[in-house]
């Protein structure tokens, strides 16, 4: 069993429904996005267009974050999910430096969505899941996966651009898509073997440069 995801860039319309679904499911504070959207302007007027590339954590097989984490707070489950044990995390952020995809965020403290109004009752409850001084990231909705449900972004996607399943099973939808449509990973040269594959989108080679420039959560999110 090796969970993974396929994102069809030809189908993705960049609506950010996945980003919002992730926020609703996981209750992340302002400025922290477990699912980010890289929006890039391509071409010149009058042929300019906006290309959207959804960026979750890649749940890498050779996860750079897991290797460098000094306390073992970042670890890989048997089913392939890379998770963070907040109790063990000391907030050193070495994992953030090591992750080539900028998938991780540091939570420096509970901030309200409505500045000056304090935390709402919803925020008070949800922020208990987001302790300050720790690093956090996409869990592929492990709480849903454990109940045999799809991650929230996959369940929400209005364009049916995201697919979730077992990469070890050649008959799964994800394996079939990768085989049929030539699935590729981002930054393969980093040797991290991402478990999130992309199809379509003209194999976005420019993405390396864009990722290096905009690996912060704020840059590539809804902001």
């Amino acid at each position: 069993m090796r969970y993974g995801m396929v994102i069809d860039l030809d189908r993705c319309v960049g609506c950010n429904a996945c980003t919002v679904a992730c926020k609703a499911e996981n209750g992340t504070p302002p400025g922290i996005f477990w699912q980010r959207m890289l929006l890039t302007e391509r071409g010149r007027y009058p042929f300019a267009r906006l290309e959207a590339t959804p960026l979750p954590c890649m749940h890498c097989e050779e996860a750079a974050c897991v290797k460098v984490c000094p306390t073992g707070a970042s670890s890989k489950r048997k089913d392939g999910l890379v998770l963070i044990d907040a109790d063990k995390c000391i907030g050193c952020r070495y994992c953030m430096v090591a992750c080539p995809y900028g998938a991780r965020s540091f939570n420096s403290g509970a901030r309200p969505y409505y500045p000056g109004k304090g935390l709402t009752p919803y925020e008070k409850v949800r922020y208990q899941e987001h302790p300050a001084g720790k690093v956090e990231k996409c869990t592929l909705c492990s709480q849903r996966v454990d109940k045999k449900e799809e991650p929230a972004c996959v369940a929400t996607c209005i364009a049916k651009a995201r697919f979730f399943g077992d990469l070890d099973d050649p008959n799964s939808e994800v394996s079939q898509l990768i085989a049929r449509k030539g699935g590729y990973q981002l930054l393969p040269e980093k040797g991290t073997k991402p478990q999130v594959y992309y199809v379509g989108g003209g194999k976005r080679r420019w993405i390396r440069r864009e990722l290096a420039k905009a690996s912060s959560a704020a840059q590539v999110s809804l902001s």
Binding site: V68, T71, G91, C92, R93, Y94, V97, A98, R208, R209
Partner: protein, 371 residues
């Protein structure tokens, strides 16, 4: 520069000054909110830069202190004990900076009790601990000017490994393996420069001349590593690396790069490369000071996010055109306090453990000069 002429009175005066500086710095830090590193929005701040600078100095000094045994550089023997003591003080200071960075002993405890051996951070801690223990074991040997070839080789190799591990941590950040070589060179530079400061003013040329030549060669190597990367990257054209190189050489932060080239490179190189018949000069002492300042600046600008390289987008700080981090007054006051503590620890330990003997008399008989 240490000198016999300073005498015990000034030594205790300097201890008092260092104690006041330490106390004032800590007090100001507490008043300003006792900022720790990991609680801040930006990781890898001033504390980590100071930690790396002290690790470089400590490891470099220990390598120099073992040189009489490892490479037979006997002229260094009289300084070996002092170098060893100062190295241990630097390592203690480095440990305190790590404590200041992680913010609480509990956090440090977590790191020590649940180590992930694939993490370079853990290797850094292991080599740091090993360097400290071996350095302490070497202290009686260096103070009593005894011979301990095996121990001195193991100590030197562990210190070298410490510098390599720390260089590899930064190499990950910059995706540039040259940083490993850069860290080894700056470690030896910091150690050599401090050694010059420890040398009495009436040190014989047999000690000062090879030391200055070594420092000049190390600076040349540092210049080579520092210039090689941006200059070769320039030829890579419109690539990310090429763009980074152009930003380093001609971007808004290039003044930092050139200042560093000047204070850690050109100026001390000119001073150390000059042929001198006499012993230690004022100019050489100043050049050693520039080297130490340069090593600190080097650690600061390679570690602190985008101080130097705006093309590197660091996590947790939005990509902007300007530096994402500037150390606060609280951070500076604790840094100055802990650096003063290193000086204080050394002066107190040196006072109790080192018996001053005229420099010329400390040389092996055949190397002594008739005045």
């Amino acid at each position: 520069m240490d000198t016999q002429r300073t005498g015990q009175g000034i030594l205790s005066g300097s201890s008092l000054a260092l104690l006041i500086l330490f106390a004032a710095g800590v007090l100001l830090w507490l008043v300003l909110g006792a900022a720790t590193g990991l609680g801040e929005t930006t990781a890898f701040g001033l504390y980590v830069a100071a930690f790396f600078a002290l690790m470089a100095a400590g490891a470099g000094l220990l390598i120099f202190s073992a040189l009489p045994d490892t490479l037979g550089f006997s002229a260094l023997q009289p300084l070996s004990g002092k170098a060893n003591l100062l190295a241990l003080a630097c390592l203690v200071g480095g440990g305190l900076f790590i404590l200041a960075d992680v913010g609480s002993p509990l956090t440090l405890w977590r790191m020590l009790t649940g180590p992930n051996v694939s993490s370079p951070f853990v290797w850094d801690l292991l080599f740091f601990a090993a360097a400290f223990v071996l350095g302490a074991a070497f202290l009686p040997v260096s103070l009593q000017k005894r011979e301990a070839k095996g121990l001195s080789w193991v100590l030197s190799l562990i210190c070298l490994a410490l510098l390599v591990v720390e260089g590899s941590i930064v190499a990950t950040v910059w995706s540039n393996p040259l940083f490993v070589a850069g860290f080894v060179v700056t470690g030896l530079l910091a150690g050599g420069a401090l050694l010059l400061w420890l040398a009495p003013t009436d040190s014989p040329p047999e000690l000062i001349r090879p030391l200055c030549t070594t420092l000049a060669s190390l600076i040349a190597a540092w210049l080579f590593f520092s210039l090689l990367d941006p200059l070769t990257a320039l030829f890579l054209g419109a690539t990310e690396v090429g763009e980074t190189a152009r930003l380093i050489l001609a971007g808004p932060y290039s003044p930092l790069f050139y200042v560093q080239i000047l204070i850690l490179g050109v100026l001390p190189l000119v001073q150390f490369a000059r042929k001198k018949e006499a012993g230690l000069t004022y100019g050489q002492g100043v050049a050693a000071g520039l080297v130490l300042l340069g090593v600190f600046v080097d650690k600061y600008i390679v570690l602190v996010p985008r101080q130097m390289n705006p093309a590197i987008a660091f996590p947790s700080t939005p990509f902007t055109a300007g530096p994402a981090y500037a150390a606060t007054v609280a951070e500076w006051s604790l840094t100055i306090a802990l650096l003063a503590l290193v000086g204080l620890l050394y002066t107190l330990a040196a006072r109790t453990m080192i018996r001053e003997v005229p420099a010329a008399a400390q040389l092996p008989f055949e190397q002594r000069r008739v005045a």
